[in-house]
Assembly symmetry: C2
Homo-oligomer: 194 residues x 2
């Protein structure tokens, strides 16, 4: 059974992870992110294991299939984005929180291009992975959008799912020039403005 996030669910009493296992798990995640960034989505797992300084059998003990490793890397990044929404809601005005979060969402989505394609193709939209990730991201988007709508600064017929696809879908394509990305965000924001 693949672990998600970090340690497995404690449904029965069990020992916490051994120190060497914990260390290798973390090194594998870091090595996976680095290798995927530099080599691309077809990076061989043998290369990930080599960079982590472990054997291929150790990699497969922690991540029974290639997709399990990609998923673990992806979940970490999704949770980081949720944390960002909480911070903006606490510290920014309704419109600034909406605009700021969307800007960070673009940055997150852009760096996941190679990883995401392989995940989506393999597990499909109904997998727990994507359902959970969409839920976390949608919750964040809902919070920042609803707050802006309630403040009367965002159109009321926009829904969070639409928002995410309009902004995030663009970044799934090739590298965008920063000014083009800013312009596209402006079009969406102008369309959103109440």
């Amino acid at each position: 059974m693949a672990t998600t996030g970090s340690a497995p669910a404690a449904s029965v009493p069990q020992r916490p992870m051994r120190a060497d296992a914990r260390r290798n798990y973390d090194r594998l995640l870091d090595a996976a992110r680095t290798t995927l960034t530099e080599v691309g989505s077809d990076a061989p797992l043998e290369e990930v294991a080599r960079r982590a300084g472990v054997g291929i059998g150790t990699l497969y003990r922690h991540f029974p299939r290639r997709l399990d490793l990609l998923e673990a890397v992806y979940r970490k990044d999704v949770e980081k984005l949720a944390t960002s929404a909480e911070r903006l809601l606490a510290a920014a005005s309704p419109w600034d929180a909406l605009e700021g979060w969307l800007t960070e969402f673009i940055g997150y989505a852009t760096t996941k291009r190679a990883l995401f394609h392989e995940l989506v193709d393999a597990v499909g939209r109904d997998s727990e992975l994507l359902t959970y990730s969409r839920q976390v991201i949608t919750t964040s988007a809902t919070s920042v959008l609803a707050r802006a709508q309630e403040a009367g600064v965002a159109r009321r017929d926009a829904e969070p799912g639409d928002l995410l696809r309009l902004v995030g879908g663009c970044t799934m394509m090739a590298d965008l020039e920063p000014d083009q990305q800013a312009r596209m965000l402006r079009i969406v924001l102008d369309g959103l403005r109440a």
Copy 2:
């Protein structure tokens, strides 16, 4: 050397393709489209060859690498979209042509989800394939958008590239409900309206 579109460029005098070669080429494209649609982007080429009724060596004679086959399938669909723009420009009002072409663009993009990810990951944004396809599609988008802007029915600061990414990028994700797709198009169109 892989052929693109259909027969190779006639830079030097040469015989047209033999009848059996022509027949197998077409059968391979049809079998590839069917197999990719039903199995997904990880469909083995042996399965494509089997469905086409040819040997794997014949498949590789026509398409030296897997990506060559995917590319040939994709080019055919891109050219079909360009033909659609010409037809709408000749027969519809500026705004209706813009809206109609975007609707067809969404349909085209949705059916290429599995195929497109593998192509983009492998060849990158600067390949002739994607440059050519973007050119063909951008030319179509430019025509329908400029005509709407000149008619004063579309905002003047929108550019064709932004248009395509806003609409097309959404469809690269999971299957969309028809009503959601219509609503997203409405947001983009409302944002575009002059």
